[in-house]
Point group: C2
Chain length 82, copies 2
């Protein structure tokens, strides 16, 4: 029986992408809307949420501003080693 | 009379660099030591601390691990407008 829980990952890109998607949905925003608000291309934002992008500081801050949260909120995930 | 307080900046690269330097010194580490611990080149780390680098997520996480703090700690600075 397949699990409905997302598999564990320690890849910061994956964890970051999930965090962005969670915060975006909590605010009722579509990817398109968040892309517009943050000034990032929608395709780039899609890649970020899928954990395929090693997003840099200035874009992290742009996303945080569009999500109206402190930049540190976007990095609230654990990458602790076992 | 020149102020001894660092000038205000809203550039996230500058704020991030100061945050790294503060946490590094609080742990009694030299740039050389932190560079070795994190696997980043010392010259790159120097550029980060001077606010000259738009550091990306994977390197932010490497620095956080070397500083033994959550990645979110490194982004605890305010970039609020006005």
């Amino acid at each position: 029986m397949p699990s409905t829980v997302a598999p564990l990952s320690r890849d910061p890109r994956v964890l970051f992408g999930r965090r962005v998607a969670t915060l975006r949905k909590a605010r009722g925003l579509s990817q398109e809307q968040l892309a517009l608000e943050s000034g990032l291309a929608r395709s780039y934002l899609g890649g970020v949420e899928r954990g395929q992008r090693n997003i840099a500081l200035l874009n992290i801050v742009r996303l945080a501003e569009a999500l109206e949260c402190p930049p540190s909120e976007l990095l609230k995930f654990s990458t602790e080693r076992g």
